[in-house]
Assembly symmetry: C2
Homo-oligomer: 198 residues x 2
């Protein structure tokens, strides 16, 4: 099956916040797929500040409306950075709740649609990045157990001068067009994404 409609579900990085071209990594990978001759419908369901807990309450009604039966829909999830933000002295979502939320979301999603997951990216905060990296490893394990492909973009982007410089120059969290292009390239090269189009 070739995927014909895709929902990207997640946070501000899915939304593409900060990108002056308003494509983010999600719009860029859809445009690249279209250039290969596939007629893909693109639904961006990234919301700023949302944690895994927020996403767990709304992803299903939002995605279901956009991927009706018979339309060959798929979902790409990406979230986690907001879970690891410290507010009023503690993380917004306790580590074990983030893992539980991811497991619950992905288990339900997998029963309904083809599903992929992309790791949260790094920001300009060393402490938060350590927590995000740890959470990403847990998300990878959840996906492994559910046989859902998981792409770690965290490591590559943390080593990317383009990503880290743009994040620091904008708001400390989000890159500009070149950073999002780099993230898009990582996803485009991913065999699990490519396998949706053939």
């Amino acid at each position: 099956m070739t995927i014909k409609r895709v929902c990207f579900v997640g946070d501000s990085f899915v939304n593409g916040t900060g990108d002056p071209e308003y494509l983010g990594w999600t719009g860029r990978i859809c445009a690249a797929i279209r250039k290969q001759g596939y007629d893909l419908t693109y639904y961006n369901l990234g919301i700023r500040r949302e944690t895994s807990a927020d996403i767990s309450t709304r992803w299903l009604p939002e995605a279901s409306r956009r991927l009706p039966e018979g339309c060959d829909g798929g979902i790409v999830f990406s979230f986690g950075v907001n879970d690891t933000t410290i507010e009023q002295g503690k993380g917004r979502i306790p580590f074990k709740d983030s893992v539980k939320n991811a497991n619950q979301i992905l288990t339900v999603a997998k029963g309904l649609f083809p599903v992929l997951m992309v790791s949260p990216p790094p920001i300009a905060d060393r402490g938060q990045n350590m927590r995000t990296a740890e959470l990403s490893q847990q998300f990878a394990e959840v996906c492994h157990q559910l046989s859902i492909p998981y792409l770690d973009v965290f490591s590559s982007l943390q080593a990317s001068k383009v990503w880290m410089d743009e994040v620091a120059a904008y708001d400390g969290a989000h890159p500009s067009a070149s950073g999002y292009s780099q993230m898009a390239e990582l996803v485009q090269r991913w065999k699990a994404w490519q396998a949706w189009f053939r």
Copy 2:
């Protein structure tokens, strides 16, 4: 007040279906605003095939999550073409129900957010265009009574060879990049849209 987050709520034309650049008219007008120095967050809530009845049941939970209090959010609505499609011998939504739905949606929205409305565009079907033009006039009247700015793009696009040729060449309903660019230009020149950014 300058609008900082905008939700575009509507159908496939809001989604940008058919645009190989995955911006549609909505992404293009946000990119243009950004070039003027405004840092706007862009939420696209267009869903293919949705009528005014479909939109009335989901616009509020979807927009509320994306425009929390204090974030200076606004909503641009655009729908109507799917209401006027003939299926099994009759229009999908009776004319008076479309008007009632629009009135109900816009009345609630206006109490919560700054609101604009853009007319449905023409497609490659003369009979449907006549129905859409008639519905658009009714929507204009609803907006007038609610003091919500309404932009008629139908007339200009029906006279646009670029729009009509691209629609005919693609799927009979949706244009490609040049058509969406033309629609974007109409909205960009609109004083009510410009007034959101100053």
